[in-house]
């Protein structure tokens, strides 16, 4: 038997024929004035060698009034009439669901004995946390504190069941604005980064900022109250912002201003451009092209391009050699094919592909760089996440909030797929990576057509735990997400919930009282389901140690877009304030915008000690424009024998 100390008796187990004490549920009564509430953890000892730990899931209060009519009779129909001199005897009857029996076997009905509020040690035993927060190789990660009466006890998740390999993934649901989903994930990432033991290896996180400035200020300290700091102290976490945050954002359509709300001059220098070319995109054409585009013929041509053309020396039938590395190169190839076919006369087939299919694929592919302008470039310039060089305890934030849905899908799919490829080869730079995505119902909806993104999410949720690829996902309505995606989440967290959502079948296992509590949860409180907890547990967590999106936007208002020349100046001076703006202006005067963009991108990617010199070197020497002489004389027209000429 586990000795965990005692506490004052606050109730007694009752058992009647209609309310029997079972093996997994029992009833107890308490005084009217009691610290017990829904979610309270209690302990029952039989006085010998058996202890039962349980969580309160329902409560009822009633009196000996046999019929409401009796009250009406004595009050003579007036609710405001004289009060009865005696208050009716009232009972508080609680329903508790068993968390653990000690000893575990044989499983027996709960003894009819005194009920006590759980102590800190009891909470540890009740939630089976004693198995993983103690010992030589603990794997506990704080998720919040359990509170009842005067007790505040830390609650821990098991890293083996959050980051794998036993189970993995975390899913969080709740209504927008009240469920504090993003805050909870920020706090949990801080908890994991600080408390994941060294023997569990290295970990990084990739966060997709899909709306507003939510995740744009994770490197800035947040406003914490004394109560928050006390909670952090209880949980053994230092309330500091993340040390290593790398921001990535695509350009706007102008190709020079970054498409992010983290564009304040003091912060924008930390934001790396996210720019991809043909090579990065073509492997994910399924994301960008819809089902009507992707018939068997188009798919065959795309496969041909990927296998035989892109990044290879390709010799066409008309003697030209192509090396396709960018959308511009690809366009040149297509033009060569069209010209070649035209010159060949009536032929409308090239390498078994019909010219109509070729034209369709060309149009769709070249349209990608237009639809994803700012992310995808024509010229092959690339600025990407440092796959292979991920750092331990680093946070990689991709700000895709300003992009349209297709572009967001592309970023999400490619990044996660690339993470997976690197993890399979154990070549990411870290042992495990947490991917946080909000609005999961958009990416993995429970209904509608199967999409490439959803298939990928299903694959991660089912196999990611073996790779160390962990999905932290959030959504308003869990019922609208694919069942296998949420079903594979080992840890499930709920903030304040919508009553309509709670009425869906997925919540049938919860008691009515638990549902009501979920529908009225204050900010900062969550209900947690974790593989070690046999019942959902309510926990409180502190505000995250980082600046919130709205606060960050006030403190660091985003800069408005500026003209090309000014944007270049700002970005370079942001990297090194010693650079004189005039020198930059002189350097780029008269240079082609695309050349300047390429040089600037290379400079930002390299983050050199001397950005100006690097930029100048990347830009190369200015080449004087060659004036082409205009031929004045007329060119004779080719004479054609016109049989109808007069």
């Amino acid at each position: 038997m586990i000795q965990t100390g005692g506490n004052a008796t606050i109730g007694r187990v009752v058992a009647t024929e209609s309310l029997p004490a079972g093996t997994h549920q029992f009833f107890f009564w308490s005084a009217i004035d009691t610290p017990i509430g829904i979610g309270a953890i209690v302990r029952v000892d039989d006085g010998a060698a058996r202890s039962v730990y349980a969580v309160v899931v329902d409560g009822k209060g009633y009196s000996d009034l046999a019929s409401p009519l009796h009250e009406v009779v004595v009050a003579q129909g007036d609710p405001a009439g004289d009060r009865a001199p005696t208050r009716r005897t009232e009972v508080r009857l609680w329903t508790a669901a068993v968390l653990r029996q000690d000893p575990e076997e044989p499983v027996q009905p709960v003894p009819l004995a005194d009920v006590r509020l759980a102590t800190k040690e009891d909470v540890e035993v009740a939630l089976r946390m004693d198995a993983y927060v103690r010992g030589e190789r603990p794997t506990g990660i704080p998720i919040g504190v359990y509170r009842a009466g005067n007790l505040t006890a830390p609650v821990w998740m098991d890293a083996d069941f959050v980051l794998g390999p036993e189970s993995a993934h975390l899913n969080i649901s709740g209504v927008s604005g009240l469920a504090t989903k993003t805050s909870a994930v920020e706090f949990l990432l801080a908890s994991i980064f600080q408390r994941l033991p060294a023997h569990r290896g290295s970990v990084a996180a990739v966060c997709f900022n899909v709306k507003g400035p939510d995740l744009c200020f994770l490197d800035q300290p947040g406003d914490l109250t004394a109560a928050d700091r006390e909670l952090y102290a209880t949980l053994g976490i230092d309330p500091r912002p993340f040390d290593r945050v790398r921001y990535f954002a695509p350009y706007r359509a102008d190709g020079i201003n970054l498409n992010t709300l983290r564009s304040h001059p003091d912060l924008v220098a930390d934001v790396q451009p996210l720019v991809w070319g043909l090579r990065e995109v073509l492997g994910f054409h399924e994301v960008l092209l819809n089902r009507d585009d992707l018939d068997a013929k188009a798919d065959g041509l795309l496969d041909f391009l990927v296998d035989r053309v892109v990044e290879k020396e390709f010799r066409d039938e008309w003697g030209a050699t192509h090396r396709v590395q960018s959308f511009a190169d690809l366009d040149r190839l297509f033009r060569a094919v069209f010209d070649g076919l035209e010159q060949a006369g009536r032929s409308d087939v090239w390498r078994t592909h019909h010219i109509a299919t070729i034209r369709k694929v060309r149009n769709r592919l070249l349209n990608i760089s237009t639809r994803c302008k700012g992310l995808v470039t024509d010229d092959g310039s690339v600025s990407d996440l440092p796959f292979g060089q991920f750092e331990d305890r680093a946070l990689y934030v991709l700000d895709v909030a300003g992009m349209d849905q297709v572009a967001q899908d592309l970023v999400f799919t490619r990044v996660v797929s690339t993470l997976r490829e690197h993890l399979e080869r154990r070549a990411l730079g870290v042992d495990q990576v947490v991917v946080f995505v909000d609005e999961l119902n958009k990416y993995a909806p429970g209904d509608g057509q199967d999409t490439y993104v959803r298939k990928m999410l299903l694959d991660i949720s089912e196999r990611g735990r073996y790779l160390g690829l962990v999905l932290f996902a959030a959504q308003q309505f869990r019922s609208q997400v694919h069942r296998r995606v949420v079903g594979n989440a080992g840890t499930v967290v709920f903030g304040r919930m919508d009553m309509d959502e709670l009425a869906t079948p997925g919540y049938q296992v919860l008691s009515p009282a638990t549902k009501i509590k979920l529908a009225t949860l204050p900010k900062g409180e969550l209900m947690v389901r974790h593989p070690h907890f046999t019942q959902p547990i309510f926990v409180r967590f502190p505000r995250p140690p980082v600046m919130s999106g709205p606060n960050g936007s006030k403190r660091f208002p985003p800069a408005s877009d500026v003209a090309f020349e000014e944007a270049v100046v700002r970005q370079l001076t942001g990297m090194d304030r010693r650079i004189a703006a005039g020198r930059i202006r002189d350097l780029i005067a008269g240079r082609r915008d695309d050349d300047v963009r390429r040089a600037l991108l290379a400079t930002r990617r390299a983050m050199p000690d001397d950005p100006f010199e690097y930029f100048r070197a990347s830009l190369g020497p200015a080449v004087a424009r060659e004036r082409v002489a205009v031929r004045r004389e007329g060119v004779p027209l080719r004479t054609v024998e016109d049989p109808y000429a007069p």
Binding site: L65, H70, E71, V74, A75, D82, A84, P85, T86, T89
Partner: protein
């Protein structure tokens, strides 16, 4: 509507100036009454009058309520001699700010046997059980029912004793506190020794009638919210107490005794002067209703709670 004999009778009753009752159907004759009549002396004027008491008045605080319960079982027989095991309990619940709290309680378990019919050896064996042994008077001839009835009388006596003990202790412990005892207080002969004890006996059964003639008719046909004049009652060896009737609920369309209680109080000038005030307190005790108890019209809720407590204390006594 069918003109049934019952309807015709009701019409006749009304025509004759009578009052229509509930007409509850019975199948057996009621058991014979032990002491159907007692003696009364007028105290608050003569003849007895119906006095309206006015609106309910919140009772003083604290106020204590006392009641007792009894149980017995014929555990067996030695020859024809019944061996009765008895259990009695009494408790006092004090009410403060509307909440009832147990302030005193006592339980006793014992055997009741007609000892004269047992041999010395048989008696010694029963004494060895560890339960107090009480004798009950038995006649020369055995009777399987009468012998048990006589034993039950002893159980009832023991219950009265424990109630009286609790009452005395409560009076001593809190002399200024109002005390409401379920039933008659005539058996408590030394209440006046404690000054002017504020003890009320609340009698719900009306087996013994002390009034007669027009006085009785006034008492038993009291309208709701009325009391009778105070009178003094004596019965056998019991102490004289001041008493009056009070109608808690209308009795029309019910039986004659519906909602009728009789209040007893140790004799003193205050018992007359405060009779109306006390009656108003008791009117306020109609809430909460004691339903679904069958005696809800006369049983005040705190007394019912004392019974509930005692029953819970007895549990599955058998």
């Amino acid at each position: 509507m069918t003109d049934s004999p019952r309807r015709r009778l009701i019409a006749a009753l009304q025509q004759a100036g009578g009052t229509v009752g509930a007409g509850a159907m019975l199948t057996h004759a009621p058991p014979p009454l032990g002491a159907p009549f007692g003696h009364a002396d007028h105290v608050e004027g003569e003849p007895v009058q119906a006095i309206p008491v006015g609106t309910p008045l919140p009772p003083p605080e604290p106020m204590t309520f006392i009641d007792g319960i009894q149980r017995y079982a014929v555990e067996g027989r030695i020859g024809l001699v019944p061996i009765v095991r008895g259990y009695v309990a009494a408790a006092a619940l004090r009410r403060e700010r509307g909440e009832l709290q147990v302030v005193d309680s006592a339980t006793h378990e014992f055997l009741v046997v007609p000892l004269r019919r047992l041999t010395a050896a048989q008696r010694a064996v029963l004494e060895g059980c560890g339960l107090p042994l009480f004798d009950c008077t038995a006649g020369e001839r055995s009777h399987p029912i009468l012998d048990v009835q006589l034993a039950a009388k002893i159980v009832e006596h023991r219950r009265e004793r424990v109630e009286i003990d609790i009452t005395r202790r409560t009076v001593v412990a809190a002399p200024g506190t109002w005390l409401v005892v379920d039933g008659s207080i005539a058996g408590i002969d030394d209440l006046s020794d404690h000054g002017n004890p504020r003890v009320l006996g609340l009698v719900k059964s009306h087996e013994t009638q002390f009034l007669d003639g027009g006085d009785l008719e006034v008492a038993l046909t009291l309208p709701a919210g009325h009391r009778t004049s105070v009178f003094a009652r004596t019965a056998g060896e019991r102490a004289t107490v001041h008493t009056w009737y009070l109608r808690l609920w209308p009795w029309e369309d019910h039986e004659l005794l519906h909602g009728l209680v009789r209040i007893e109080r140790p004799p003193s000038p205050d018992s007359v002067a405060e009779a109306t005030t006390v009656s108003r307190w008791l009117l306020s005790e109609r809430a909460p209703l004691s339903a679904p108890d069958g005696r809800w019209d006369r049983l005040v809720y705190p007394i019912r709670q004392v019974e509930t407590y005692l029953r819970a204390l007895a549990g599955g006594w058998w």
